[in-house]
Structure formats: structure tokens, C-alpha cells
């Protein structure tokens, strides 16, 4: 890769390049919104920023909080489940040999199938959404945690064992800190995955949340509302990523 390209990629959101590209996009969009009727495109298809702004002003915080709570709740549950199972599989090769094919099978199932299974199997909306999120994100946490555990050097494991720690000490003093960078990367991947999955799940089977509001906007043919809720979703993802990045800087300050 050319060094300049690399530099632009790392420039971040407040770089000149980022601001310019977003501004250009906004100008083109705004121009299209005015020109749409003359181009034979219905006016509602490309709403102006004034209309999008009006839709943003109508955003209900309740739905944002509900979606956020669903994402965080399900991610925490997936994380705990994934890491505990990974630890068990790490400790027991026999358990791993039985569970690994199942995990791979779960990971190959499309999100839409999980949503359909949830709708067909369960009644409660919250349970359905949690089920889908855990089924999708849990295996990612599990596989990443297991890979990270296997990556802990033989030398460090030998050193730790020479001091004869208890099983709990072995995991808390060695394995968990050693796999933390891998777990944080897994959180980053799962955050964006969970936001997408929860939106589809809410779109299909919920009466609250951002996904549900998107479904309402679709029924009303309101592209401005869809745009506004999408902006909220994107902002939510960036906010969560910023929180994880801050946590990462704090706990991984030991890295050169």
C-alpha cells in the first residue's frame, strides 16, 4: 500500500480528508434532493437536510435506550457465555472436540434464519431478540477467546505453573490479562454486528426500538425518518466504539 493511502486511513474522523469527503457527500445529496423531481425521481426518495433535521427532532429517546439496552445486555450475556465455554473447552480437549463442530455450525447459520427460528420458537419479544443476538455474537466471543488462549506462550504458561497457582489464579492472573487484547477486538467486531442484528430483529418482530421505528418509517414511505434513524444507529455505534476504544487505551496502556 502507498504510504499516503495508509496515512489517510489512519487520519481519523477530524482529519481534513474526512471532513472534505463528508461535506462533498452532503452537498451532492442536498443538490440531488432539489433536482430529484426534474430527474424523474419522487421528491420523498431523496429528502433535503431540512426534512431529515425535522425527523431527527422527532426521535424518541425511549426507542434509542431500548435498542442500546438490548445490544449491551445481549453482548454482556454472549461475552460471559462465550468466555466461560472457551475456558471449559481450553481445559478439556474432549469437550472441545464435541463442541467445536457445533460452534462452526452455529456460525454458518444466517442471521435471518436465527430470526425466523426465534419467531417460530419463542413468544416473548425480548427473549427472541436476546436469543438471536446471543446465537450470533456468542460464538464469535467463544472462538476469539479460545484462539487467544491458545496463543498464550508456552513460556509464560510454564513460568506461571512453576509457581503452582490454583485454577482460578491461573485464569485470572495469566489467561484473562493475556487474552484481553483479543477480547477487546472481539467486542469491537461484535458491537457493529450486534447493532445490525438487533435492528433486523426489531424490524421483524418488535414493537419498540430503532428497528421498529425503521419499520414504521418504511410503512409511511418516509425516507427522511429512515435517514434520521439510520443516523442515530450510526452515531450509537460510534459512541459504543469510542467507549471500547477508551477502555482499550486504559487497560492496554502496558503495550509498547
Amino acid at each position: 500500500m502507498h504510504p499516503d493511502v495508509h496515512d489517510i486511513g489512519r487520519a481519523g474522523w477530524f482529519s481534513r480528508q474526512a471532513v472534505v469527503s463528508i461535506l462533498v457527500f452532503c452537498v451532492v445529496w442536498e443538490a440531488l434532493s432539489y433536482l430529484a423531481p426534474t430527474l424523474g425521481i419522487p421528491a420523498f426518495a431523496i429528502p433535503s437536510f431540512t426534512r431529515i433535521g425535522a425527523s431527527l427532532a422527532k426521535i424518541t429517546m425511549f426507542d434509542v435506550v431500548v435498542t442500546l439496552a438490548r445490544v449491551i445486555g445481549a453482548l454482556v450475556l454472549s461475552f460471559v457465555l462465550g468466555v466461560v465455554l472457551a475456558m471449559a473447552m481450553y481445559r478439556s480437549p474432549r469437550m472441545e472436540s464435541y463442541l467445536h463442530p457445533l460452534v462452526r455450525l452455529f456460525m454458518a447459520v444466517p442471521v435471518v434464519s436465527w430470526i425466523l427460528f426465534a419467531v417460530l420458537w419463542f413468544r416473548g419479544v425480548e427473549f427472541r431478540i436476546a436469543f438471536v443476538l446471543i446465537a450470533v455474537c456468542g460464538p464469535v466471543f467463544l472462538v476469539d477467546a479460545l484462539d487467544a488462549m491458545r496463543g498464550v506462550s508456552k513460556e509464560l504458561r510454564g513460568m506461571m505453573r512453576s509457581f503452582r497457582p490454583t485454577t482460578l489464579q491461573y485464569f485470572t492472573k495469566l489467561m484473562l490479562p493475556a487474552i484481553l487484547p483479543g477480547l477487546i477486538t472481539s467486542w469491537k467486531i461484535n458491537l457493529s454486528l450486534a447493532i445490525r442484528v438487533v435492528t433486523i430483529a426489531e424490524l421483524v418482530g418488535a414493537v419498540t426500538g430503532i428497528g421498529h421505528q425503521l419499520a414504521v418509517a418504511q410503512e409511511l414511505f418516509s425516507v427522511a425518518d429512515v435517514f434520521a434513524w439510520t443516523l442515530v444507529l450510526v452515531a450509537l455505534l460510534f459512541l459504543l466504539e469510542a467507549v471500547v476504544a477508551r477502555f482499550e487505551r486504559r487497560v492496554l496502556r502496558w503495550r509498547p
Binding site: 509464560l156 510454564g158 513460568m159 509457581f163 497457582p165 502496558w254
Partner: protein
Amino acid sequence: MSAAGIEISGLRKVFWQATTGQAVVAINRLDLRIAPGEIVAIVGQTGCGKSTLFDLMIGLEHPTEGAIRIDGKTPYGDFNDFRGKIATVFQQDRLLPWRTSYDNVRLPLELMGVAETVQRERSMHWLKRLGLENFTNAYPHELSGGMRQRVAIARAFVLQPEILLADEAFGHLDEVTAAELRGTFLALARECGSTAILITHQLEEAIGVGDRIVVLGKSAALLADIDVAQWPRADHAVLREAIQATLQNNRPDPRLARGRPDGAAAGAPPASA
């Protein structure tokens, strides 16, 4: 703390190669006795089974046949009975990169459940002894190789262990740093009264540190068991040559018979042991 003696009898370790299904004999019937408080250097060529012996002594591997007994207990079978009694210094420092020097040194005490005030007091004491008082909050990547190895030595001594094991602990450092750390290690081991075993392939290191030098040949065959006290400093060059010849020929050099009533170079430990 009292030092512990080590008795190795009929020790045999065989590994099975998964790919070929063939047996590899790493150690073939080794007998060795190390008295409490003794400082022993074990020398041998690369691949002679030194590191396997090290792993067996720490209890990370189990013998195929025979036994290692430390004060009557086996490090593998009675694994947990050796908590806080055995400490190790490895070739690489093996520091936990997410812990500061201080936190690395106090790790063994933390694992032993020692009170935090005692952890602090003892860790700071050993960091100071090793000249690291100004680097207590430094992470391993912020330290030089020599300093990291000092932290690793402090981590071993903080337990005031009965048995100290060092596997090629100074081999990767430059000569000046290695000599300095060897001296420090030796002085501290004597001060603590621990039984210390240094595994090395460097003859200078073995001659400079050990009360005894155990020379191992292929499959950890005992080629010579030398009482260093029998060799005045002026004769160290001869001793070095004799050990080198022993290693090269994989049989005891006749010059190593010095000081032994039976005139034998290998077999039973020397009279002083």
C-alpha cells in the same frame, strides 16, 4: 527457610513423536544427589536433556521411570506441596508484559495469598537489592534485557525458596551484564541458603558459579561430577579444557578424576557432597 536436598534416582524420560510414532529418550537413567544448600551447575551440549531435567525438577513433566525426590516428595506427584518452595529463573525473563516490575516481582507472593503489606515490603526489598528501585513502575518493554532479567531474579528470590532453578538464565545477555548478574545471583543464593541449580551450556558460567559441576552427555548420561573446591583458580583453564573434552568425546576425561578417592570422574557424587 531451610534448604532442601534433591535425590534423582534411575530417572528416565521418553517422549513419543506424534508424527513418526518413535520414542526419543531425553534422559536415560540418571542418578544424582544434591545436598541442601549446595550450588550445582549442570552443563551439557544442546539437546542433551538439560531442559527436560529442568522441567522434571520443577514438576511440569513427569518421569517415565525413576523419580526425583525433594525432601522425600516428588515435584510432579506432590505438585501443590511445593507452593512457594521452588522458584525459577528462565532463559527469557518470562515477565508478564501487562505488569510493572513491582507487580511482576510480587506475583509469587500474590499467588501464595501473602498479605498485601508483606507483599509490598518484600517486593520492594528485592527490587532494591537488584538495583531496580527507580524502575518499580516500569513495564517490561521499557526495560533493557539485563534489567528484565534482574526483575525475573527478584521474582525468584522474593519467595525465599528452598530450591532455586535457573535454566540458561544469563546465556542471552552480553558478557559484562551476564557476569554481573551471575555474581549477584550467586551472592543472593548463598545469602538465602537455597539449594541452587544452574543449567547452562557455558563452561565459564558453570566454573564460576557452582560448588559442583555435573557434566551430562547424550540422553543426560552422567559423564562427570566435579567438586570445584578441588580445582584452585589457577587450574580453571585445565578444568575448562577437561570438561570440553568430556563433552566432545561423550566420555569422562581422565583429568577430571582429581580429588576423588576412587580416581573416577563420573558416577557417584564427589566425597564432599
